[in-house]
């Protein structure tokens, strides 16, 4: 499979080499391609504060782990609002932790509060920039809330 793909690419490069001289005869319009977010790399003239690494969403530091564990136990016991209060405590400590927002969305989904579940999952997604698993799970939650909301 890879080998076949390499052959295709090889043919394409040969094709491109043929096309290059022709390209040189035509005046190409100037092209501007986007830069990565300044948060990941520092560029000249860019402010220091925006060049610092974007904050990682910490999924399982001891505090978050403890909060999520407690919330899960309460959910198992059917104590949804108590679980919400625990998660809110966690969010006071880590308001940018998307996992806590997602857990909150999960509880609202369980309770049938689909609009709130969707909004909370969107919030989780907005904080999941560097966490592909959180992104995926947030998307799933949004879809679930949308689907279940439309059938109720």
């Amino acid at each position: 499979m890879n080998r076949q793909y390499s052959h295709t690419n090889f043919l394409l490069i040969v094709l491109a080499l043929f096309l290059l001289p022709a390209g040189g005869c035509v005046r190409r319009p100037p092209v501007a391609t986007p830069y990565p977010h300044p948060g990941t790399q520092k560029t000249e003239g860019q402010t220091e504060e925006l060049a610092r690494p974007a904050r990682q969403t910490v999924s399982e530091n001891p505090l978050t782990a403890s909060i999520r564990r407690q919330a899960r136990q309460l959910v198992k016991q059917g104590k949804y609002e108590a679980a919400v209060r625990v998660l809110e405590r966690g969010l006071r400590a880590e308001p940018k932790n998307g996992w806590l927002w997602l857990d909150l969305a999960g509880i609202r989904l369980e309770q049938g509060r689909f609009n709130q579940a969707k909004a909370l999952a969107h919030k989780a997604y907005s904080l999941a920039r560097r966490d592909p698993i959180l992104r995926e799970q947030s998307r799933n939650m949004i879809d679930a809330a949308r689907q279940q909301g439309s059938t109720h």
Binding site: P30, G45, R85
Partner: protein, 777 residues
């Protein structure tokens, strides 16, 4: 016949007297039982601040922790009892008090805490050394809502009352309490004889039950009939209730002091009032003083008459020693102690009237007024006393400085300041005027003033939400403009009365230009702008006049806070909350006010807006912030000034806090202040003084950064040296690309990080080149 008539009359009189007595006793019985039952449960609502949450990594300075401990009346000590702490440098050991939170009881416990560079670096259980993930101190009680009769008490169960207090009380006031029937006839006779001999009252014969009855009516009347009534009622109380019930009610009911309009009732409340302590934290000398007050709270008031109070306390300590309740040596030693009564100002009257007003308004939506007065509700709020203190201090001192610098009359300016958390919308501080402790007109909640340029972000957000038409570099026209209105026409002016010709959209916002804003607003339409304002959190009718675009819209600071909270939280509006939960007096949760969010704006346009609001604080109308705040504290915000310099506003946010400040005069006369020379300074002082996080501008997926030419507003082509990076909504309108004729020497464009072409052909070619090169490896 005469004898018979006399006997009959006597019998009739006796029957009549018996009926009268019976009716009287019945009336008294009804009165005393209803009073007894009613008083037992009439408890004021208690309003609590947020608890201080402790966890590793939390931003917390040593000063802030000491302030918190001081507010909570912790004292340095040997950790013998709750409410004590030790501090050596950055290390704290705290013996917390037990507390019923709305989600359960947290027992008293000792914790070890280490601070370093303004953060908690370790948190452990003192007993077993076990690390603690999250621990909270008990919250400060910030206010009580009293019944109509202004009585204040903290209910304490007999079983929770320290035995030392009960023993001392019975020793001093009623040794035979558990054996008498409510009155002690012999003691009354003894007291009567002693008093007659002395010609004044030198001895009392009242039992605790009688004292309780007397306390129910608190009358200074000393008639015989009154005494008889009290005696009958005491007998009736003993008939209806057992001794423990009567003693428990006495402990909670007895009058022990006065705080302004409020009577201090019961030992638990008195312990807080005089010593700032819970009952179980009292030392024997403090117990002696409180018990001594039962005889005469006014006469032995330790604040007014410390000598009398000391003498009374020592007399009781002597008795305690003689009776063996405490060792005699201890009793003697304790007589040399000072009274150590806390200052009256910190007695528990609300020090935060503006915030409490907000809480009461929210409570009234869900509770009856009488429940607030007497049901003993426990209300858990979001107030952060440390932030509130910083806000109050900042307002008062900054206003005084502004007045001095601007040559304004002293105390001529007024202010309002509100603060909340970014993502949870929890209102953490409310300052309703320059003297925060004064209740009265609450400018933070009730003042409606024109918002001026604070409205502009809504105009620009509306435009940026149409990325196919507008971006941050869209050229707007700053030239004379005439807008037709109902009554004629309107010609908006810039603050400096100048016109700049074509300007970039972002430049117009950064420098708060009026004319291009009106041009833009009229282009996109007033109704979409109004829709945006509503979505962001401005409530009520918004009239669709063109002047709206420049802030001819009145709203209180709290509503502006909501609007900027939505911006700060990336477009997720969280309805502001001052109350988190309400529990009843038995700690059962009655109601919670959970966090909710609503997406009010698309993330990408909002990111572009916030990016620009950040620039406002770097190079725009709020550029002074870059000098007044620490270099690592990045912020975003907007100034606002109204016609005639009547209102000075600043609304802005960091990574964790949103705040709105207003400065002006109550009579709406000009102050001579702009947003940046007035309110901005209060805002800046607040953010400087509190622990807050820098702005975290986290771009959504569909944001692309392009290198642009600052002057022309064109994108720079790949062959150009890098310019300024500006965000654009992906797939939206882009400015024309400027090409550079040759790459200047020394520039290494290729070294700049670039996003790779995303089309599949491009990817395939790239892969192909790699494969091709591998052949030669």
């Amino acid at each position: 016949v005469l004898k018979k008539c006399a006997a009959l009359l006597l019998v009739c009189a006796a029957i009549g007297a018996a009926f009268f007595l019976f009716a009287r006793v019945q009336a008294l019985d009804k009165e005393i039982t209803s009073r007894f039952e009613g008083r037992r449960w009439a408890l004021p609502a208690r309003i609590h601040a947020r608890p201080l949450e402790l966890y590793v990594g939390k931003q917390l300075t040593r000063d802030a922790l000491l302030t918190e401990l001081e507010l909570l009346r912790y004292r340095r000590g040997s950790l013998a009892r709750p409410g004590e702490y030790q501090n050596h440098g950055a290390h704290f050991t705290i013996y917390s008090r037990a507390f019923f939170f709305s989600d359960g009881r947290r027992p008293a416990g000792i914790i070890d805490l280490e601070l370093s560079q303004g953060k908690i670096t370790s948190l452990h259980d003192h007993q077993d050394g076990h690390p603690l993930a999250l621990y909270r101190l008990e919250p400060l009680m910030i206010a009580s809502i009293y019944p109509g009769d202004n009585e204040d008490r903290i209910l304490v169960r007999l079983t929770d009352t320290p035995p030392l207090l009960i023993k001392t009380l019975l020793l001093v006031e009623d040794r035979e309490f558990y054996t008498h029937i409510g009155i002690r006839p012999l003691a009354i006779i003894r007291a009567l004889i002693a008093n007659l001999r002395a010609g004044r009252t030198v001895q009392g014969g009242s039992t605790l039950t009688q004292q309780l009855v007397k306390n129910f009516f608190l009358s200074s009347e000393k008639s015989i009939s009154r005494k008889i009534n009290e005696a009958i009622m005491a007998l009736l109380l003993e008939y209806h209730y057992n001794k423990d019930e009567i003693l428990e009610t006495y402990l909670n009911e007895i009058y022990l002091g006065q705080d302004g309009q409020r009577g201090i009732h019961g030992f638990a409340r008195a312990a807080r009032f005089y010593f700032g302590r819970n009952l179980d934290e009292l030392t024997p000398d403090q117990v002696a003083l409180l018990v001594g007050l039962a005889k005469g709270a006014s006469r032995y008031n330790p604040r007014r008459h410390p000598d009398r109070a000391t003498a009374r306390r020592n007399h009781i300590l002597n008795k305690m020693g003689q009776a063996g309740i405490i060792p005699q040596a201890t009793a003697e030693l304790l007589q040399h102690r000072k009274l150590a009564v806390v200052p009256l100002a910190d007695s528990g009257i609300s020090r935060y009237p503006a915030f409490v007003q907000l809480v009461r308004r929210q409570l009234r939506q869900d509770y009856r007024e009488e429940d607030l007065h007497s049901a003993g509700l426990r209300i858990f709020t979001t107030l952060d006393p440390v932030l509130q203190k910083a806000a109050e201090t900042g307002v008062a001192s900054t206003l005084a400085r502004i007045e001095k610098e601007q040559g304004l009359a002293e105390n001529s300016l007024q202010a309002a300041l509100v603060l909340c958390s970014v993502d949870q919308g929890e209102v953490q501080a409310v300052v309703g005027g320059r003297i925060a402790s004064q209740s009265g007109f609450n400018r933070a909640l009730d003042m409606r003033r024109p918002l001026g340029s604070l409205v502009k972000p809504a105009v620009y957000l509306t435009a940026l939400s149409r990325p196919d038409q507008y971006n941050l570099l869209t050229i707007l026209s700053d030239t004379p403009l005439t807008v037709p209105t109902d009554g004629g026409e309107w010609q908006p002016q810039n603050y400096d009365k100048k016109f700049r010709g074509p300007v970039q959209l972002r430049y117009a916002l950064i420098h708060s230009l009026n004319v291009p804003t009106v041009q833009l607003g009229m282009e996109i339409g007033l109704d979409p702008v109004i829709k945006t304002l509503h979505a962001l959190g401005i409530s009520g009718d918004i009239p669709a006049y063109p002047s709206l675009l420049l802030g001819a819209l009145e709203a209180p600071p709290l509503e502006v806070l909501q609007m900027y909270q939505t911006l700060a939280a990336g477009g997720y509006r969280t309805p502001l909350r001052a109350i988190l939960s309400v529990a009843d007096q038995d700690n059962n949760l009655l109601q919670s006010y959970p966090l909710t969010v609503q997406q009010a704006a698309e993330p990408a346009p909002l990111f572009c807006l916030n990016w620009t609001l950040h620039e406002v604080t770097r190079s725009g109308t709020a550029a002074s912030l870059s000098r007044s705040l620490p270099a690592d504290l990045t912020v975003a915000g907007k100034t606002g000034t109204t016609d005639g310099l009547r209102d000075s506003w600043f609304a802005g946010f960091t990574g964790s806090h949103v705040a709105v400040a207003w400065v002006g005069k109550d009579d709406n006369s000009p102050t001579g202040l702009t947003g940046s020379t007035g309110a901005l300074r209060i805002w800046s002082r607040l953010m400087h003084d509190i622990s807050t996080k820098p702005l975290d501008l986290n771009p959504p997926d569909n944001i692309d950064f392009y290198s642009v030419d600052r002057e022309t507003g064109q994108l720079l082509s790949d062959t150009c040296p890098p310019g300024e990076l500006v965000p654009f909504v992906r797939g939206g309108l882009l400015p024309p690309v400027k090409s550079c004729s040759h790459r200047p020497s020394g520039t290494k464009r290729q070294q700049q990080p670039r996003r790779h072409p995303t089309n599949s052909l491009g990817k395939a070619i790239e892969e192909g080149i790699k494969d091709f090169l591998r052949i030669f490896q």
